[in-house]
Amino acid sequence: MKRLLNTLFVLSEDSYLALENENIVIWGEEGKRGQFPLLGLESVFSFSYKGASPALLGACTKRGIGFTFLTPNGRFLARACGAAQGNVLLRKTQYRISDDPNQSCFAARCFIFGKLYNSRWCLERTVRDHGLRVNVEALKRSASFLSATAAEALKETNLDTLRGWEGQAATEYFRVFNEMILNQKKDFFFTVRSRRPPLDCVNAMLSFGYSLLASDCAAALESVGLDSYVGFLHRDRPGRESLALDLMEELRSVFVDRFVITLINTKQILPKQFDKMEDGAVLLNDVGRKTFLNVWQTRKREQITHPYLQEKMQWGLVPYVQALLLARWLRGDLDAYPPFLWK
């Protein structure tokens, strides 16, 4: 089994990253700020505007280390990807399936089923753990709607109708999302999903979490030899990592949504860790982002048992394992793609 390695976050805006003797070196105004061997790294997230040296990017892509650039505010900019690697036959199968609407739908409905199943579990879990504090009726109603939709989605053969089911389910899920927030309700509330820019604290954290997860998924797909830009549910669009977004669907609620809710409910994140911009955008500030990433990394190290493989692994390896299962389905070793169904 692959070992979960560390992730390096470069939060200082004016850092320049370079390669030196198989090490990533962080240069600042005052000189060397630090250096880490590439050997122990899984991915690098750079929030600085000064960039990185081509030699470093080359070394990272060669070793399968994901390298992601974000603006100092945390908005995704670019991801380094090197000379195409992996198995060309596998990638061609992927393209063929992506071109065929029927087979695409076969894959897409697995992703959607996973998404609906996991979203429903999040709602059910709130009912189970905090039955006396929440609006049980509303949550139960949404949960049963999600499970009914999941059953329908699993039978669907038309991609557009499938998207319709997904949209309805997402609306229903986000309608009761606010019920899951139990503490600090005055400052953290969820009314509607807003992005570019996020207009409240909860949306800011959701967006940030989703962009971290998307990069992880894309890196995982590339590492098993798939093309992260050619998706089944999300259609092709230049610059969009459609397959990473597909793979992410089933992980959104268990990976990011629950994580954000836990941060709020355990008061690990506080209202003062956000900045409000002139245009109404709400963003995590430096302290907030550090807290977020600290807990995010700790969570990635938690041990779980994979529900399909029945194997112990760390949370952070889940995107990688799912990418591997997807590749096995494309190769014909599995009859269908088994989504990550968490309970």
């Binding site: 070992r3 560390n6 992730t7 390096l8 976050f9 470069v10 939060l11 200082s12 850092s15 003797n21 198989e22 090490n23 962080i26 700020r33 630090g34 880490f36 061997p37 050997l39 122990g40 550090k290 990433l293 600290n294 990394q297 700790t298 190290r301």
Partner: protein, 96 residues
């Protein structure tokens, strides 16, 4: 597992200075320098063997010495630092 590597390279002649540079360079690739000729490397068993072989090729068995301390997977409780230049935790959160 965490491996602590220490070395003593005889630098009385030019050859020795060259070996010292090569050993240091090889160690920097695999871990963090905690003191002058002391490195902490987080390696899996395969990487550890490869690093050992590489270092043994460089040193002169007659003049230099090399020591490996295996601290295992739960090394956090086995290390205590005093004074300046505290290292980083290789499995901790790396935020710069």
């Amino acid at each position: 597992m965490l491996v602590l590597i220490t070395y003593d390279v005889n630098t009385t002649d030019g050859e020795g200075k060259k070996r010292l540079r090569q050993v240091a360079k090889q160690c920097v690739r695999h871990g963090q320098r905690v003191q002058c000729s002391v490195f902490e490397c987080l390696l899996d068993p395969g990487q550890c063997k490869a690093l050992q072989a590489a270092l043994c090729r460089i040193i002169n068995m007659e003049k230099d010495s090399l020591r490996f301390y295996y601290l295992g997977d739960h090394y956090q409780t086995k290390i205590k630092h005093f004074g300046v230049k505290a290292g980083y935790e290789p499995e901790g959160v790396l935020i710069m």
